[in-house]
Amino acid sequence: MFSNITVAPAPHIDERLSTRRIMADVVIALLPAMVAAGYYFRVYGLVLIIVCVAWSMATEWVCNLLRKKPNSLTDYSAVVTGIILALSLPPALPLWAAAIGSIFAISIGKMVFGGLGANIFNPAMVGRAFLTASFGLLMTTWTVPATIDPQMSTIGPAKMLDARTQATPLAWSKTAIKKELNAKVYAKEQITPAFTGEVGGCTGETSAIALLLGGLYLLLKRTIDPRIPLAVLLSAFIFASIFYFLNPDSYVNPFFHLTTGGLLLGAFFIATDPVTAPLTIKGKWIFGVIIGTLTMLIRIAGEYPEGVMYAVLLGNSVRPLIDRFCTPIPAGGKPRA
């Protein structure tokens, strides 16, 4: 009767939750963005996602073999990294470049630190930063969505077309400000397409509505902490609003900033990566504000039109410091020494 009895420390039950479940939830939440990518960039978008995921998984498998560690593909974290990387790349990026990015993201971004849970920087952003530094031209060559131009012609960074078939809305607004065009008119015209996704841009970043749907799913499932996306979006909005109200002619509408570029993908899916975000509740607010403000600072004052990637990486780098300064105080106050 007692032959199968085992002992272990309390508690003896657990909430049926696992790392794999969390990662699977993120993949589910990314589905709308992937569908949008397929809709606007057709085969380009889908193949890019498949290639990134496949190479990410292959890299993780090989790294585990080299490290003589058990296979860790079943936690799905490599899949998440692959998808997020693909969604943050331009749709027309050659597949060999996407493969290099994936390999770099997993191997240098994650596995050299010891695998899941040990990396300092968000692996997908490490991969993207590597590609931006190495293949600047490819990373700024954009595609016109298939719903506007069935030929899906590509646009180089220098090429300026009309408002609907432009590079990315952010790049356009930047040029518009430089050339002292009227940014206000432009933003108004672009805000609906930016919401649905019918604009040029990174594969999965164009459709705000798809990303919001996914973010909502993660929030409802309590997979991510609402503080980080809230802090990122609020701080970015406030930062952009200040400049907008100071000079509405040369700075674009803050709502435009929220819906374009990688801000939504970053707020809901990249900054919330638990491994590279702070542990503490206060720390999560600080981390979110750092990312939101840095993004806006880069977008408004910097040379790049987009800033989410560098903002996230910079935020990641101060994460241990944030956690150190935000040691939670016990419920009963600090004990008297």
């Binding site: 272990a8 309390a10 508690p11 657990d14 696992s18 638990p274 509740i281 016990p330 106050g333």
Partner: protein, 454 residues
């Protein structure tokens, strides 16, 4: 008095494990099995271990004191029934592993009779002086029956430096599965009210509160009605609190009911509060009014892997094996036998381990139900444990510090403030035994400070 049955009174953090109380909540307290021998552990409480007062071969009477200690923080133990001392030897102890115990061979049938207690209308607690109550409590060997086993006399004794103005009767029973306190509230209502009033008299508390989780509306109603009937509802009140684990932790309960926070490292009397478990209150009434020692208690035998779960009134010292057999044995799925509930209970391997004064339940879980630490994956820093920690600590940091023997780090993150409720392990998606590590760390640190033998 209309009672609001849904309560918002709570603390910050905590988890909502499945209640699983339906298995036994409607089962009346029945007499337990008749047993051949009882194992009376000489340490069933926090504090000094008792010395045996009998020798091998002695004949003992029911309720005879068989072990005691001179120390202030201690409680004597008594023989649960008449019989002969078979041996005095080391026996399995649920908490400290092995402990000296008196084994008593029963002289006759030992089927216990549950007490019948009626609060007479002319009951007046003022006929007992606080000293009388404290002495009776000490004599009866009463300890906190909720699990910690702190000697009750030490708790309720008046202290001029720290007046105890409020007495909380902890009737939360927030652990899943366990229903012994719930049944006591329904069936021994008069007895616990008398016990609470006596304890309040001893401690000099002007307010007495019964804190009951709002998933037990029947208990809330029963006690409120009884209080009204006895005309005690002026300074004795029922306070429903939110159903959440660990609502019954005394620090959490004080926060929920009184909106006060016991300082880290402090005890409730520091802010003028005493917390007693309902079963303890029942024992106090029995000890003071009827002069009976604490030799029986109600134990819930429960879990999906037990054939016939129920609530039983058993002599302290009953081997758990006898109790499980009495319930029809275990099913084939049984994978873990736990003394206490699934959140804080202690898994046992030796089924001869006896019931002690603090054993409220035997929970048997099946293989599918138990947590799977063998699937442990790396910490992904999701912060869930920080969010639900009722003491607002950083469990993952402390646990990983312990794992790597960084004692200073563990202490900087307040390892000693952990109440070991198990919420962090429960919620962890990486299946890390955070609570296990923290408990281990506490033992290591205590040994370093020579507070505990190695």
């Amino acid at each position: 008095m209309p009672i609001n049955l849904k309560s918002r009174l709570s603390f910050r953090g905590g988890v909502h494990p499945p209640q699983c109380k339906v298995l036994t909540q409607d089962k009346e307290i029945l007499p337990g099995p008749s047993i051949k021998e009882a194992v009376i552990l000489l340490s069933q409480h926090t504090g000094a271990i008792c010395q045996p007062l009998v020798n091998k071969g002695d004949t003992v009477q029911a309720g005879q004191k068989i072990g005691d200690s001179e120390a202030f923080v201690s409680a004597p133990v008594h023989a649960p029934f008449a019989g002969k001392v078979k041996e005095i030897s080391l026996q399995s102890h649920p908490v400290i592993g092995r402990c000296l115990a008196v084994v008593i061979e029963a002289a006759q049938d030992t089927t216990p009779r549950p007490p019948f207690f009626k609060l007479s209308p002319d009951f007046d607690e003022n006929t007992y002086s606080p000293e009388q109550i404290c002495d009776a409590v000490r004599r009866a060997g009463i300890v906190g029956m909720g699990g910690a086993g702190f000697p009750t006399r030490v708790k309720i004794e008046p202290n001029p430096q720290l007046p105890k103005h409020t007495l909380l009767i902890n009737s939360c029973e927030c652990e899943p599965y366990i229903t012994c306190d719930y049944r006591i509230m329904l069936e021994w209502t008069d007895q616990i009210i008398a016990g609470a009033i006596l304890a309040g008299r001893a401690a000099g508390s002007s307010n007495v509160y019964f804190a009951i989780e709002d998933n037990k509306p029947l208990a809330i109603e029963t006690i409120s009605t009884a209080l009204e009937k006895h005309g005690r509802s002026n300074n004795t009140k029922v306070v429903p609190v939110k159903t959440k684990y660990p609502q019954g932790g005394e620090r959490q309960l004080i926060r929920a009911v009184l909106n006060k926070q016991v300082p880290t490292g402090g005890i409730p009397p520091v802010i003028g509060v005493v917390v007693l478990n309902v079963a303890t209150a029942a024992a106090i009434a029995d000890a003071v009014i009827n002069n009976n020692p604490l030799i029986h208690r109600v134990v819930t035998v429960t879990g999906e892997a037990v054939s016939n779960p129920g609530n039983f009134y058993v002599p302290i010292g009953t081997p758990i094996e006898d109790l499980l057999n009495f319930c029809g044995g275990l099913t084939r799925q049984a994978a873990r036998v736990i003394i206490g509930g699934p959140m804080m209970g202690i898994a046992i391997a030796d089924m001869k381990t006896p019931v002690t004064k603090t054993t409220g339940a035997i929970t048997v879980l099946s293989q599918e139900q138990i947590s799977r630490a063998e699937l442990q994956t790396p910490c992904i820093h999701c912060g869930r444990c920080l969010k639900i920690c009722p003491e607002r600590l950083n469990p993952t940091k402390i646990a990983h510090a312990v794992k790597n023997y960084f004692w200073d780090v563990a202490q900087n993150y307040y390892i000693s403030a952990c109440i070991e409720c198990g919420c962090c392990s429960y919620i962890c998606p990486a299946h890390i035994e955070l609570t296990g590590y923290i408990k281990t760390g506490k033992v290591f640190l205590a040994r370093q400070k020579k507070k505990m033998p190695a």
